[in-house]
Each structure stands twice: as structure tokens, then as C-alpha cells.
């Protein structure tokens, strides 16, 4: 594996490899000194052209626990704010001896462009509405950890699928691992040509709740109201919010997931966030070990085992 730009870059075997490495790195993370020398001497550049807290910190923690050196880059403090082109920024960081670039950008496709312009491994940390493959991997890992397997699980992805890179990656990964996926959203927040996606679609939530193993909520951006996609957040919550009443209809053991950050009380009621089967913190925790596994596979797999 040279790059991780899309879930499409991964075979099922690749995913299983990531999960078993992640098991190992989860154990590492629980040690008193949660660090292995696997990527000593390697430099990972964090190229976050768009604001991000959890993903950037998660990748940084992953790289540091593998003993890689980390170069951090953010738009507001870099030459990009002086008008440097994307290609020149990539060339500059390449020239500094980077071994991998972790790229987040508001435009779809930028990680592909970066990969085409440089010789180093590129990890997509979220590009526009396109993909966020490490998020999908950590979500699969979390489901696998809680429910034993992803295969044959019924996963409801709820909310703004149209504008969601998380949804695009998750659908690919869940389907590749033989889960059944149902998208639930108002029609304005479904992607075009959704009939070509390998999923079922429902415009209402109540009928699918009793039959699902996972409800995966997506963030609703407040600006969707001004784009005539939603009448109001109040109406969204009433129709598609995971309220306490709706959460009570879930089967025993069904999980509630969300990529964060949550609009509390909009997508998910605060009380539901505190339930034991709501696993947002586990998703975040698994994110670090999954990203360790991905960086290790890209940069260290031929090197010494830790």
C-alpha cells in the first residue's frame, strides 16, 4: 500500500490487517510508556488546510507513539496565507525530507493531487465531501470490537449524507465488510444518484430503528437552513433527530455512533449521548490505534517489527 486516499485503496485483507495491527497498538497505548520505535527516523507532515481538532490530534498522537517526527502545518500560520500554491507547498514539504503527508483539505480530490505531485505516501485525512478513510476504518473497528463483526450488521447512517466525506467512506467500508446499510435523511440531504449507491434509502427514521444494529449519526451544519435544504433545525430534530423516545425503540445492544463533533440536542439528544451503548469516546480512542496501524503499514511494515 503506497497511499491511503480512499477506502477503495483497501482490499478486505488490507482492512483486516489494519484491524489486527490496531489490536496490537491498542495494547501499546495502554502501556505506561505508550510508545514503540517502529517509525523512528521517519517524518510525517500534518498538512491541515482546513481546521480540524480531533483528526489532527489523533494523527499526531499516532505518529508520536510510533516515534516518528511530526511536522505540523496549518494554513493560518503558513505561506499558504501569503498565496503560496498548493503544489509549491507540497514541493516545499517534500524538500524538507518528509516520508508521509497527512492531508486535510476543504476541496475533494486534493490528496489525490498531492499524491501525484510528490514521491511520499499520502494519507487522506478528509477531503471536501469526498472521503475520510481512517474514520471509516476506526468505525468498522469499533463495531467489530463491540458487536464481534461488521458482516451482516444492519447499519443506519442518519443525516446529511450528501455533504459528508465520512458517509462516503463508511458506506464503502461497511459494504465491503458485508454489512447492510440504510441511509436515512430528508431527500435534500441525500447525494445525487443515490440509487447507484449499494444501500437502501429511507426518508423516515422510526420504521428502521427496531431493526438496526447501529445508528450512525452525521453532523448537520447549521448553514443547511440558509441553503433551503432544511426548513429549520427544530424540524430536523423532530423528524430525524435521535431523541430519547426514538433511542428507546432501538434493540438491545444496538450502538449509537457519530464522527463528531456533535450538535448536542440536534442530531442526538444529550441523554442518549450518555448511554452505555453510545460509543463516541471509543471511536475517538480507536482512532489513534487505527491511525498508528495505517502509518505503520505505509511507512514501517518492511522495517523492524516493534
Amino acid at each position: 500500500m503506497r497511499h491511503l486516499l480512499s477506502v477503495d485503496d483497501l482490499s478486505v485483507q488490507d482492512m483486516e490487517r489494519v484491524f489486527s495491527l490496531s489490536d496490537h497498538f491498542t495494547e501499546v497505548s495502554q502501556r505506561p510508556i505508550p510508545k514503540v520505535p517502529a517509525l523512528r527516523g521517519k517524518t510525517v507532515a500534518m498538512m491541515f488546510f482546513e481546521d480540524s481538532t480531533r483528526t489532527r490530534l489523533s494523527f499526531e498522537a499516532a505518529a508520536r507513539r510510533l516515534s516518528a517526527d511530526v511536522m505540523c502545518f496549518s494554513v493560518s500560520t503558513s505561506a499558504v496565507s501569503k498565496g503560496e500554491s498548493l503544489r509549491d507547498t507540497v514541493a516545499t514539504l517534500s524538500a524538507m525530507g518528509t516520508h508521509a503527508m497527512v492531508v486535510r483539505h476543504r476541496s475533494a480530490g486534493v490528496p489525490q493531487q498531492v499524491a501525484a505531485w510528490s514521491d511520499v505516501s499520502v494519507v487522506n485525512a478528509g477531503d471536501g465531501w469526498h472521503e475520510h478513510p481512517t474514520q471509516a476504518l476506526l468505525d468498522c473497528y469499533t463495531i467489530r470490537d463491540r458487536l464481534g463483526t461488521v458482516a451482516d450488521r444492519h447499519i443506519v447512517i442518519l443525516g446529511d449524507v450528501k455533504h459528508s466525506r465520512v458517509a462516503r467512506s463508511c458506506v464503502k467500508a461497511f459494504v465491503a465488510l458485508d454489512a447492510k446499510v440504510t441511509l436515512v435523511a430528508p431527500a435534500t440531504l441525500l447525494p445525487p444518484a443515490v440509487e447507484t449507491w449499494p444501500v437502501d434509502v429511507s426518508f423516515e427514521l422510526d420504521s428502521v430503528l427496531s431493526d438496526c444494529d447501529v445508528v450512525y449519526g452525521l453532523r448537520v451544519q447549521t448553514e443547511r437552513q440558509t441553503q433551503a435544504l432544511l426548513p429549520s433545525l427544530r424540524e430536523y430534530t423532530a423528524q430525524w433527530g435521535l431523541t430519547v423516545q426514538r433511542a428507546n425503540c432501538l434493540g438491545v445492544g444496538a450502538l449509537v455512533m457519530h464522527p463528531g463533533p456533535v450538535n448536542r440536542g440536534v442530531e442526538i439528544a444529550p441523554e442518549v449521548l450518555d448511554r452505555p451503548n453510545t460509543v463516541l469516546n471509543e471511536q475517538v480512542r480507536h482512532g489513534v490505534s487505527i491511525r498508528m496501524a495505517v502509518l505503520y503499514l505505509l511507512l514501517g511494515a518492511e522495517g523492524a517489527e516493534s
Binding site: 500554491s85 498548493l86 476541496s107 475533494a108 477531503d127 465531501w129 462516503r168 445525487p192 444518484a193 447507484t196
Partner: protein, 429 residues
């Protein structure tokens, strides 16, 4: 640059293809005009045309020459060389320059620069001031300088009321309006065709209906006013069908298709290379098939290039930040011959006399090859197979979507006003 050469030139051994049909004949040119058509003619200079087609020079209704204002991408001179290398003896320069061609002063600048270009450069004019769709530009003043075609190309006129008045005003002056059909409120924020590929790629899309709604509206306005309207770069099955039906119903509309809309599909955007970003966007295969059908059955009158040079820098931005547009002048003939499955005469008609008539140039370009006609000629080898190499194009930019593609049919000689500006594929400075 277009000094009439001394002495006569004979185009030897070719097959003439024009609106009168096909005939093997030599053609002699002198002092800007055709002075002899027949067997075994001679002249002071010989242009070998054995195995070649001798056609009236091509006319591009839709060329972005980028001057004034964007000279890093193209100049009127470099674009002119790209034109003649593609067999075009005349181009209509689009008005989305900086400043835009929306008043007499800018028309005069374009025409003055065009006089030094290797092809004939005709200026279009904007319909509205600044191409903003708010207030009519001085159309009569620009028409007085010879502008025949008015368009806000790049922007469609959003207001039906304004478009109606512009059509009435232009028709009264005997000039033609050309519309870039796109309803902004549907297209806004989109960067490729809305469909299966945009859905997968996570790129905001533009539905086909953004184009079709304006085609529908302008057909209705043409019926209302009786004024003709020309549709630029139609790209969807619905648009082609509406234009076909409107013409059958006697509504005075004409239409062009851009080369890329019958050769490429939206799948080309899958690699996120902004070279494949264009407006209207590349469409799915069914729309591509419809454009081909329209060119074959006469629903569409002309092939236009929508030649849109952009600097390398601007095409190395993220897909959604890069400007739309692709080169077209030097590849249009080869792609039409390679891809359309039409007779050579049909292809030449789509590139030559049919667009010439729309641009009001039928007396100087696209004329039948006969004694006394202006010597605007394109001589091409319909069999030559070649590979498109961006660096070898005459255009200052290299944003061709056909890099590395093998195509068939190549211009050998181009004469503009009797001057052999391209000889054996070489530019004659």
C-alpha cells in the same frame, strides 16, 4: 503578418470538399482570391495536397483569446496560430476578457490586435455591461464596428425580461445574440455534471436541467419576439431535443456543440484533474450520444471549440477552485473526423460554412471553392494518425484534455486571405 504574397500558389492534387460536393482538382490562388480551379494547373509556389482534402477555411464561433487581461494564458496572436494550425481561417473572440468586450474601445483594441494575427479575428460583444446581466451594453455602437454576434458567454442572462429586450433590440439591428445557457440558481457552486460520478467523487454538481431550463426559456422568447437566438455549447440530450423540435416548428434558433461534449464524459473527472473541468461540464455517455446525433441530423449547426486557455498554475489548483475551460482549436478537426462517424463533407460543413453563416461571414469564409472566392482554405490529410502532445501545440497554454490521445486527421496547409500561414504543418511567421 497577413501580407498578400507575391505570385501565385497552386494547391496541387487534392480533393475539393465544399457545399457543392467533392471533386479532384487543383486550386490556384493569387492576390487573396481563388483564380483557378481545374486539372493540371500551375503556380509560382506549390502546396502539395495529394491524398488531402481541400476545404473552405474553418470558422470557430467560440474562441477565448484571453486578450486583453489574461495574456499569461493566451494572446490574440498565439491563439491565432492555434487557430490556423487547426484549419480555422476565422475565429469569433469571446468577450469575457479583462476588461470585457462590452464597448467600442475594447472592440477596437481586439480588432487592432487581431489585424496582426494569422487568422481573421472577429470580435463578439457583450450583451450587458460588464457581462453582469443588468444593463444592455452599447450594442449598436459595437455593431457599427462590425460586431455581428453578442453574448455574455460564461454567464447566461438570468432575467427573462432582460433577455427579451436584448433579443428585440439586437434583431432590430440585424445582429445575433448567442446564449450560454445556465440557470445560476441551479448551477451555483457546482463544478461538474451532477450525477453518478459527482456523487461518488463528492464534487458539487450542476444538473443538466440548469442548461435545459434556459434553452427552453429562450426558445419561448424567440417565439415571442421572432428574433433569432444562437445556443452556445449545448451539452445535454434535453437541450438537443428541444432545439430540434423548435427548428421543426419554425422558431429561428441555431446551436453549436463543443468538441469535448461529443468526445469526453464526466467519468474523466474521476482523477480530480482540473484539465477536465469545463462549463458546461462533461456529461454522461447518453448526453454525448445525443450531441453526436444532433450534429448528424442537423439539430446542431456547428462544431465550436470553446477554446479556453488557462495557465498551468490555475489548472493545478484543487478541482473546485480551478477555472473551467480546455483548449480546442488544434484538435477539433481530428476529433470530429475520428469520433463522429460522419462524411467528410458533413464534418467540413459543421466546421466551415454552417458556422460562417451564423457569424454572418458567409461571403468571406466557408464559401464554395470557385474562381473569384476569397482564398480562405484548409488543406488536411484525413488519414494521418497523430498523438496530441500538449507541448507541441501553438497555444500559449497546454490545458488540452486530449494529451497522449491518438487521433486521425491533420491539417497540412492553411491559407488566410491567400496567405499560406501554415505549410506542411509548420507556422509561417
Amino acid at each position: 503578418m497577413r501580407n498578400t504574397p507575391k505570385g501565385s500558389i497552386v494547391v496541387k492534387g487534392g480533393l475539393i470538399v465544399d457545399q457543392l460536393g467533392e471533386r479532384s482538382s487543383d486550386v490556384v490562388v493569387e492576390e487573396g482570391h481563388i483564380v483557378g480551379v481545374g486539372p493540371d494547373l500551375s503556380g509560382d509556389q506549390v502546396l502539395e495536397a495529394k491524398g488531402c482534402v481541400v476545404a473552405p477555411g474553418f470558422v470557430d464561433l467560440h474562441t477565448h483569446l484571453r486578450q486583453p487581461g489574461m495574456e499569461e494564458a493566451e494572446t490574440i496572436e498565439s491563439g491565432g496560430w492555434a487557430a490556423v494550425r487547426g484549419g480555422f481561417s476565422a475565429v469569433v473572440a469571446m468577450p469575457n476578457t479583462d476588461p470585457p468586450i462590452d464597448c467600442a474601445a475594447v472592440v477596437q483594441e481586439v480588432l487592432a490586435l487581431g489585424a496582426k494575427a494569422p487568422c481573421e479575428v472577429y470580435s463578439s460583444g457583450a450583451i450587458t455591461v460588464g457581462r453582469k446581466g443588468e444593463q444592455l451594453a452599447p450594442i449598436a455602437e459595437m455593431a457599427g464596428l462590425g460586431v455581428r454576434l453578442f453574448t455574455d458567454d460564461g454567464n447566461g442572462i438570468q432575467s427573462a425580461g432582460l433577455m427579451r429586450r436584448a433579443m428585440e433590440y439586437a434583431a432590430g439591428l440585424g445582429v445575433l445574440l448567442a446564449q450560454h445557457c445556465e440557470v445560476d440558481s441551479l448551477a451555483e457552486g457546482g463544478h461538474m455534471h451532477e450525477g453518478e460520478w459527482s456523487s461518488q467523487l463528492g464534487i458539487p454538481g450542476v444538473p443538466a436541467e440548469a442548461e435545459e431550463l434556459m434553452v427552453m426559456r429562450d426558445i419561448a422568447l424567440s417565439r415571442l419576439t421572432g428574433a433569432p437566438v444562437h445556443f452556445q455549447h449545448l451539452s445535454t440530450r434535453g437541450s438537443v431535443a428541444m432545439v430540434r423540435a423548435a427548428r421543426q416548428g419554425g422558431v429561428p434558433v441555431t446551436a453549436e456543440a463543443a468538441t469535448h461534449h461529443f468526445t469526453l464524459t464526466d467519468e474523466a473527472c474521476a482523477g480530480y484533474d482540473p484539465v477536465f473541468k469545463v462549463n458546461p461540464p462533461l456529461r454522461p455517455a447518453d448526453d454525448v450520444a445525443a450531441v453526436r446525433e444532433g450534429l448528424a441530423d442537423g439539430a446542431l449547426d456547428a462544431i465550436a471549440t470553446d477554446h479556453a486557455p488557462h495557465s498551468l498554475d490555475s489548472k493545478e489548483r484543487p478541482f473546485d477552485e480551478a477555472p473551467p475551460g480546455m483548449l480546442g482549436l488544434e484538435t477539433a478537426l481530428a476529433l470530429a473526423l475520428s469520433e463522429l462517424n460522419l462524411s467528410i463533407q458533413q464534418v467540413v460543413g459543421l466546421l466551415s460554412w454552417q458556422p460562417a453563416a451564423i457569424a454572418g461571414l458567409q461571403n468571406t469564409h466557408g464559401t464554395p471553392i470557385a474562381v473569384g472566392a476569397p482564398a480562405n482554405l484548409c488543406v488536411f490529410d484525413p488519414e494521418e494518425i497523430w498523438t496530441v502532445e500538449p507541448d507541441e501545440l501553438a497555444s500559449r497554454a497546454c490545458n488540452t484534455p486530449y494529451a497522449g490521445r491518438q487521433v486521425q486527421g491533420r491539417v497540412r496547409h492553411t491559407l488566410v486571405g491567400g496567405n499560406p500561414v501554415v505549410v506542411n504543418q509548420q507556422m509561417r511567421q
